[in-house]
């Protein structure tokens, strides 16, 4: 069996198979992860709250069940974490804020329930951008989460703690949330896989909202196969979430090995604009050539400018966020960080007319893109225009043009939130400075299986997901 650090840096699928075949026990896995967290988390600050004592108990319970032949499935005995906006019964849930610093929920989120039922070990609550209102995880209340590839750079956000934890081997999966790219952007920055499933596939019950009509819940993991396995556990109808879709459950691992033969792969050249830095452009086009070599047929798409999706989602999320927070922002404004207050102020300055215009644009953009997508099975674009930025420069890549909110380097992620389509970011190269670069594979709504199949074929061929950062503890 691998040594302790190698064990921690394995994929969820690998460690699950070792647990199932009793090559390693849940207690051994948990203790290896615990030691690694104690050594590396002071550098990374990936967690707001650790629940290691409870997880140790869960590990012993899992070990006993498996010894008696009661193996529950691929998450049984596997350490995982939750972004600190997933409600956890009896464990404080801050949403990265001072406002909720003392909130101890009396209930679990739907995803928390499903992970517990699957036998996962919940090791802690990960750091995040305050209330998911930004993309850096520079958090004024709980500190900044560093990027495992270079601690002077941001991990991205808002699910930055989740991405950093998985990348550094502090747990095998972490649940994040994504309103405008908050799973996929940090996944790209930290060199892991981040999946935003179809809107409504994973319940948001118990997930503190940012913008209701754009919020998605999904996993951050090492491999596409890992993402499919977590999705098998957390997907499913939940009447407590009004957006939850009621469809028969699928096995998302079932079609992974089908390859790319016959796949029509859309590419939108307009999404590889001059704002995308050369290292990312090179990585993206190299990846497209890999897809073609594997049998995919490339079809160029004419999509509306990414800026339209950016202004539309910014207006919708700004308005919805301002509404979500009105109960606190009217009375506890001083408890918000300055960054969040700016975001909320912009939202409060938008009118009902602005919001409805954006919702009309949403329908127009969705209709246009849906028509284009009829000619393809999946489509790809660079997850972000730039790699992870230095913390000292603010981390958002807007140092020289801070007010140009529609040209932010992360607007490429927005279309998938606008339409609710599945989108997976996975590593596809590294910059000359050693930072991971991400590519996104998206598919039509409710065709998460095709997105997973296409992304998996790429990973099987290239193996970028097998690189691990060396974090100095």
């Amino acid at each position: 069996m691998a040594d302790s650090d190698e064990l921690c840096q394995s994929t969820l699928s690998e460690v699950a198979s070792w647990i199932e075949t009793k090559k390693v026990s849940p207690v051994e896995v948990f203790e290896a992860v615990r030691r690694r967290i104690e050594r590396l988390n002071p550098t990374l600050n990936a967690f707001i709250t650790l629940t290691l004592d409870e997880a140790a108990q869960e590990a012993r319970q899992a070990e006993g069940e498996i010894a008696k032949g009661r193996y529950r499935g691929p998450l049984h005995g596997v350490p995982v974490s939750l972004k600190d906006l997933y409600a956890t019964r009896g464990v404080r849930t801050t949403a990265g804020s001072k406002v909720l610093a003392d909130w101890v929920p009396d209930h679990d989120s739907d995803a928390t329930e499903r992970l517990r039922s699957a036998g996962a070990l919940l090791i802690g609550k990960t750091n995040m951008h305050e209330f998911a209102l930004g993309s850096t995880t520079i958090n004024p209340h709980y500190g900044t989460t560093s990027n495992p590839w270079n601690a002077r750079h941001v991990s991205g956000g808002s699910s930055g703690g989740s991405a950093a934890a998985v990348a550094a081997g502090l747990g095998y999966a972490s649940m994040g949330s994504d309103t405008g790219g908050s799973i996929r952007q940090p996944a790209a920055f930290c060199g892991v896989v981040g999946m935003k499933p179809t809107y409504g596939l994973v319940s948001r019950y118990g997930v503190f909202p940012a913008a209701w009509s754009l919020d998605h819940a999904g996993p951050l993991v090492h491999s596409v196969r890992d993402a499919a396995r977590v999705l098998n556990t957390v997907a499913g109808h939940d009447p407590r979430d009004p957006a939850s879709v009621d469809r028969p459950p699928l096995d998302y691992t079932a079609g992974l090995e089908r390859g790319l033969s016959g796949i029509r792969l859309g590419v939108a050249p307009a999404y590889v604009s001059e704002d995308v830095v050369p290292d990312v452009q090179r990585a993206f086009w190299d990846a497209v050539r890999v897809f073609e070599r594997l049998g995919a047929k490339r079809i160029d798409l004419e999509l509306p400018s990414a800026e339209y999706a950016a202004v539309t989602t910014s207006t919708i999320s700004g308005s919805e966020v301002a509404s979500t927070h009105s109960r606190w922002s009217d009375t506890q404004l001083a408890d918000y960080g300055e960054d969040s207050r700016r975001s909320l102020a912009i939202g409060r300055c938008l009118t009902a007319g602005d919001y409805l215009k954006a919702q009309r644009a949403r329908r127009a953009i969705s209709s246009t893109v849906s028509r284009e997508l009829e000619s393809v099975d999946a489509f790809v674009w660079p997850t972000t225009a730039i790699p992870a930025s230095p913390i000292e420069e603010g981390g958002d890549g807007l140092r020289t043009r801070p007010h140009e909110v529609l040209r932010a380097p992360h607007v490429l992620t927005r279309l998938a939130n606008l339409m609710g389509i599945p989108a997976i970011s996975m590593p596809c190269s590294f910059t000359s400075s050693g930072f991971p670069v991400g590519i996104t594979v998206a598919a039509k709504a409710h065709d998460d299986s095709t997105a997973l199949r296409v992304a998996h074929a790429y990973q099987r061929e290239t193996g970028w997901e097998n690189r691990r950062p060396v974090v100095q503890g």
Binding site: G318, L350, A361, R362, L406, H446
Partner: protein, 70 residues
């Protein structure tokens, strides 16, 4: 009656500044942030103007909990 096709260009920064001022910006923002928020809001409002390029005249708003076009 003026020709709606020849509407004068709006001064979005001025509009943004008025909206930020109406927010009681002193309570919401540090003194040097109000103007920065006005600039960000200007970017957004100008972007919303450009959305007219999509031809929204006959488009109804997306519904809240079913944005996915099935």
């Amino acid at each position: 009656m003026s020709d709606p096709q020849n509407k004068p260009e709006k001064d979005w920064l001025e509009i943004a500044r008025r909206r930020v001022a109406a927010l009681d910006a002193d309570a919401w923002l540090p003194a040097d942030s109000a103007e920065a928020v006005a600039y960000s809001l200007t970017d957004l409002l100008d972007g919303l103007r450009r959305i007219d390029d999509l031809g929204l005249d006959k488009v109804e708003p997306a519904t809240m909990y079913r944005p996915v076009e099935e």
